[in-house]
């Protein structure tokens, strides 16, 4: 299948500190790809470079064959790439309903937006009961679900999730991943998942990359990596 997104030798830095050096990866349409690695390996930076929030200093990023490297973050969302950021970045003083509406900020099809809000209420029953509640007053798991729903409101082709399991109980992690897998199956959504929880990420993904110090150290089919002892010992800590 065709590559939806491809990173070619991408480098990025924060001031003088190089965060990514020559990272190449691709995600084929309809697949789930995991991006693993330790803290500070460059996982979030990779997503932020794709989202246009951190500039790439070298290399190219192609979405459906076209370079998006120099596009602004708003144009990238418009092109069909949404990110679910880590760290509960909901709009705290807006209601759940408004957080969903703002996810559709670039869309103008009123009826479609209303319909999608209904769909989100179906995917995330917890949210539907709390449409009027301020997002900042919800629990961590609920905020994580709201973030996923907010990103989906833009109707992305590629959904990137940054550590969706961070700080959540095993039960909630299971719930969130169940929803993610369901979305992938039902909506044919292509996923790029950044995780420290390698076991969960390898279980749901088709292919995986492991980042180490801003470079891709290992890549391969998730099923193979999950059973490779050297990979497990060196990177996955199991």
């Amino acid at each position: 299948m065709a590559d939806l997104i491809e990173l070619v030798e991408v480098s990025a830095s924060y001031g003088r500190i190089e965060a990514l050096s020559g990272v190449s990866l691709k995600v084929s349409e309809g697949k789930v790809v995991a991006l693993l690695g330790a803290n500070g390996a460059g996982k979030s930076t990779t997503l932020n470079v794709i989202s246009g929030i951190v500039p790439a200093t070298k290399g190219d990023i192609r979405f459906r064959g076209k370079s998006i490297r120099r596009l602004g973050s708003d144009k990238i969302v418009g092109a069909g790439i949404s990110q679910v950021p880590e760290g509960r970045e909901v709009f705290r003083d807006m209601s759940v309903h408004e957080n969903l509406l703002i996810g559709a900020q670039l869309r103008n099809d009123r009826a479609g937006i209303e319909r999608d809000i209904e769909i989100m209420a179906g995917h995330f029953p917890v949210l539907s009961k709390r449409f009027k509640q301020m997002a900042g007053t919800m629990s961590g798991g609920e905020q994580q679900m709201l973030l996923i729903a907010r990103a989906l409101m833009a109707r992305p082709k590629l959904l990137m999730l940054d550590e969706p399991s961070l700080g959540l109980s095993p039960l909630l992690v299971q719930q969130i991943f169940d929803i993610i897998v369901k979305l992938h199956r039902e909506e044919k959504l292509t996923l790029l998942i950044v995780e420290q929880n390698a076991a969960v990420a390898l279980a749901v993904s088709d292919y995986a990359y492991i980042l180490e110090n801003g470079e891709i150290a290992v890549e391969g089919r998730s099923a193979d990596l999950a059973h490779d002892d050297s990979v497990r010992n060196a990177y996955l800590g199991t």
Partner: protein
């Protein structure tokens, strides 16, 4: 003091206070929206207000433009000017990656430039009076009396606030402005163009300042230093918590009414001190301001 006089003073003080307070409220709104969405305390606010008054004066009294053209022309010109200042100057200063105080210094620079321009035209040398289109005459409400001009100021200011609150709370662009004020990164991730929103907010703040200037100018003698009145708008913003729009409005009215009541009941010499006493009281008893909310501990 007799009861009748007391009641008269009280009513007149509140009525006049609402009029001047509505201007402080507009200017405080201009300060607060800019601070919320761009993190800059705009120390040129007073000079934007002053320059707007002079621009309107120039168009009406010197160019002899009809009032109904000169007013929108002034508001539009200030809107564009303020937007350009954000776009051209502030984004450059921010890109230079200095400390954030540089942005504040840039607004101080703007205030000197605007004052310099007004002085250079020569119109600022002597106090000028702004032509009023309102007829002479007044209306009595209870025992308070307000001129037609006063009523126009209060009515127009309230109308502008109503439109502004509607826009901020119920439109797509208003939602984007609030989003940028809450979380810039998340705003970018939902596809909001930060640069556009910030430029628009500066433009809007300029437009509100221009309206305030045109409304109050006929009641004042214009000088190049008339912008100092914005100190009171800052006071209003602080009382309201500095990030709250309703807070800015309530703060504006509190300052306006306090000034007038102190002038009537205490002494006209005490007027200048009164707003600062109010600020001190608010900061001592409610350090977050009236609408500042609770202190939120942020996890980093």
């Amino acid at each position: 003091m007799e009861l009748e006089v007391l009641s008269l003073f009280l009513q007149q003080g509140i009525a006049s206070g609402l009029v001047t307070g509505s201007i402080y409220a507009l200017l405080a709104l201009a300060i607060v929206i800019v601070f919320r969405t761009t993190d800059v305390a705009n120390f040129a606010e007073g000079e934007v207000y002053m320059a707007s008054a002079y621009l309107a004066f120039f168009l009406i009294a010197i160019v002899s433009m009809p009032f109904w053209i000169a007013v929108p022309a002034t508001v539009f010109a200030v809107l564009i000017g303020a937007s350009l200042f954000q776009r051209v100057v502030l984004t450059q200063v921010a890109a230079a990656k200095g400390v954030s105080v540089n942005l504040v210094i840039a607004t101080l620079g703007l205030s000197y430039v605007l004052k310099g321009i007004v002085r250079a035209t020569g119109f600022g040398d002597t106090p000028r009076s702004f032509p009023s289109v309102m007829g002479e005459g007044s209306v009595t409400l209870g025992s308070a009396s307000l001129t037609y001009l006063d009523l126009t100021i209060l009515g127009a200011a309230l109308a502008i606030m109503a439109v502004f609150f509607w826009m901020f709370n119920y439109t797509k662009i208003g939602r984007a402005m609030r989003a940028v004020g809450m979380n810039r990164r998340a705003s970018q991730l939902v596809g909001i163009n930060l640069g556009h929103v910030q430029m628009l907010v500066w433009g809007l703040s300029g437009a509100i300042s221009a309206v305030a200037a045109i409304l109050i100018a006929p009641k004042l003698l214009m000088t190049a230093d008339m912008g100092v009145v914005v100190t009171l708008a800052f006071a209003a913003a602080i009382i309201g918590g500095f990030t709250s729009l309703p807070g800015a409005v309530v703060g504006g009215f509190i300052i306006g009414i306090t000034e007038n009541l102190v002038g009537l009941f205490v002494s006209s010499r005490a007027i200048n001190v009164a707003p600062f006493v109010v600020i001190m009281l608010v900061l001592i008893f409610m350090p977050q301001g009236l609408f500042g909310g609770k202190v939120r501990v942020r996890k980093v």
